[in-house]
């Protein structure tokens, strides 16, 4: 059995799925983020001045790009895998000799690809508003891939455990979006009062956004190494938990 063929089939299917519906998957983030740049960066940002030596527009660009990567990598896997469960075509995979890790990485790869494509689209839009010279390409690309991986895994777990369409919208609306906004997309965590700074340090998205911001414009509130350790730790934990769910068949069998 050639597992690579099964993996490639799954990734190709997942990629064509969201490309086929590009007006729903790739166009909206371009419009939304263009409005962010226009309203927050241009109209309000000019009155704010600079943060850590960067213009406000330059400061918010990395956060907005990564916020798009987070929401779209998550949304891709949660909606795709839940639909697969709901329509019962998950049975196509369960009947076939496809190991659980191929199922997991197939869906996660689809999420990563969409997350990064949306990130590229948003970055291209950002070029109309900000003049960005990449500070460290390796850190920028690595943290973007790791973040997309982490939230694709989270989306996968959400989809596996979800029992209704409501269940797949609760986490993005009530957890993911607030954490993203509170992760320092529009402000430096050093601007917060002491207790809120401490609370913010418990938000993993803060580390990813700051690492990405460092990669792009060389500005960060946190230690970059710590950001990689936290992101990597979450990825390993969520991967093991996802494989456990698949092994037990929780949410997909019986």
């Amino acid at each position: 059995m050639n597992y690579f063929i099964a993996f490639r089939t799954l990734v190709t299917k997942e990629t064509f799925r969201f490309i086929r519906i590009w007006p729903q998957t790739l166009l909206p983030p371009a419009i939304t983020t263009a409005l962010y740049f226009l309203i927050f960066g241009k109209l309000i940002g000019d009155r704010i001045g600079t943060i850590s030596g960067a213009t406000y527009m330059d400061y918010i660009v990395p956060g907005i790009i990564l916020m798009s990567v987070i929401s779209h990598s998550y949304a891709n896997v949660v909606s795709s895998f839940y639909s697969t469960k709901f329509q019962r075509n998950i049975e196509e995979l369960l009947v076939a000799p496809v190991p659980n890790w191929v199922i997991l990485f197939g869906y996660v790869s689809g999420g990563i690809i969409r997350g990064l494509l949306v990130g590229i689209v948003v970055a291209l839009i950002a070029l109309f508003f900000a003049d960005i010279a990449v500070n460290n390409a390796l850190i920028t690309v690595t943290i973007a891939i790791l973040t997309a991986t982490l939230f694709s895994l989270a989306g996968f777990i959400n989809a596996v455990l979800a029992e209704s369409f409501d269940d797949i919208s609760i986490i993005p609306n009530f957890v993911l979006t607030p954490l993203s906004y509170l992760g320092g997309v529009f402000y430096s965590v050093s601007m917060l009062p002491g207790v809120w700074q401490t609370i913010s340090m418990g938000n993993p998205i803060l580390y990813m956004i700051n690492a990405f911001r460092y990669g792009l414009i060389g500005v960060t509130d946190i230690d970059i190494q710590l950001a990689f350790i936290i992101t990597g730790g979450f990825i390993v934990t969520l991967t093991l938990f996802s494989l456990f769910l698949l092994h037990k068949g929780i949410g997909i069998k019986n």
Binding site: I5, T84, E92, L94
Partner: protein, 308 residues
């Protein structure tokens, strides 16, 4: 070699319902095997476990000698499943559904394309290859599922009520297709509620009821157990009462219709001569019920009502 071997298979669901109570079953390679049972008997649970869609509580399943627990990949490679309900992505095209399934079985792209074309042509769906599957008729959707199940050339094909809800013409063409596939060497396990279908197609049969195998034999010897055939006779003229003829149980079921129970050891000749003697002219006759249906009901009904 056995295509399928089930040993002491049990399944108890989380709500405590015991769907399978330790069933044992052997299906020989090349067989056309019927797995029958009333709704809720445990057929779908058994098929779910064989096809890895349901986790068993205990027991073992091996497919062509490959244990489903210890040699999972090889066991699954031998199996194709046509489920009861449509379970493909309704937004995908016919070709992509079949082609993707070949990919999940690790079939190289070039070979997968060839097999997809072959299976779709066999199912008479080649002209519909680029059609989005939700636009297909019910019969076509079933044939897509058969093509999908066959694209990796499985040695064992399980068809779970493949002809449910399709018209008689499609059903007959699907019978022919199943017979062709079986003659080409693929072992087939068929579940169906159309008992004439099982009687026409299958060589061996198991009947499952309340999580247990209540019958497992070849079709011919099972049917031989039927001692009485029931016929409905259409008469040329009306009769006021049913005639009394020794050896037969005759019941009037209409002005011009009789229901006759014919013991096999007596046969029909005597019946017709006696009816002529009573000035009763028979225009036509038909089997009251399918023979297998009669046996099936006998086996299922033999359980006390409180056990059912």
């Amino acid at each position: 070699m056995n295509a399928l071997s089930i040993r002491n298979l049990r399944k108890t669901y989380n709500n405590g319902f015991e769907a399978l109570k330790g069933i044992n079953l052997e299906v020989e390679a090349g067989d056309f095997f019927a797995l029958l049972g009333p709704n809720g008997a445990g057929k779908s649970t058994a098929i779910g476990i064989i096809s890895s869609l349901i986790n068993e509580t205990s027991g073992s399943v091996s497919i062509f000698g490959h244990d489903l627990k210890t040699d999972r990949s090889k066991a699954k490679s031998c199996l194709g499943l046509v489920p009861q309900e449509v379970n493909f992505n309704q937004f995908d095209t016919v070709r992509s559904i079949v082609l993707n399934q070949a990919g999940y079985y690790g079939t190289p792209r070039k070979l997968a394309l060839q097999r997809t074309e072959q299976c779709l042509k066999q199912m008479d769906l080649w002209d519909k290859r680029d059609t989005v599957s939700r636009r297909l008729s019910g019969g076509m959707k079933r044939r897509v599922m058969i093509a999908r199940a066959m694209v990796h050339a499985p040695k064992l094909l399980i068809l779970d009520e493949p002809t449910a809800g399709v018209d008689i013409e499609i059903r007959r063409s699907m019978w022919k297709m199943m017979q062709d596939v079986n003659q080409q060497g693929t072992t087939i396990i068929l579940t169906t509620h159309y008992l004439e279908e099982a009687e026409s197609l299958c060589r061996n049969i198991a009947i499952i009821d309340q999580g247990q195998i209540v019958e497992n034999s070849d079709m011919a010897s099972l049917l031989a157990r039927l001692h009485v055939d029931h016929f409905v006779l259409d008469l040329a003229g009306p009769v006021a009462t049913a005639p009394v003829i020794a050896g037969y149980q005759i019941e009037r079921i209409g002005d011009k219709a009789l229901n006759v129970a014919v013991p096999k050891e007596i046969g029909l000749n005597q019946l017709f001569s006696q009816l002529s003697a009573h000035n009763i002219k028979v225009i036509s006759m038909k089997n009251k019920s399918n023979r297998l249906e009669q046996l099936f009901m006998d086996l299922i009904d033999s359980k006390p009502a409180e056990e059912r």
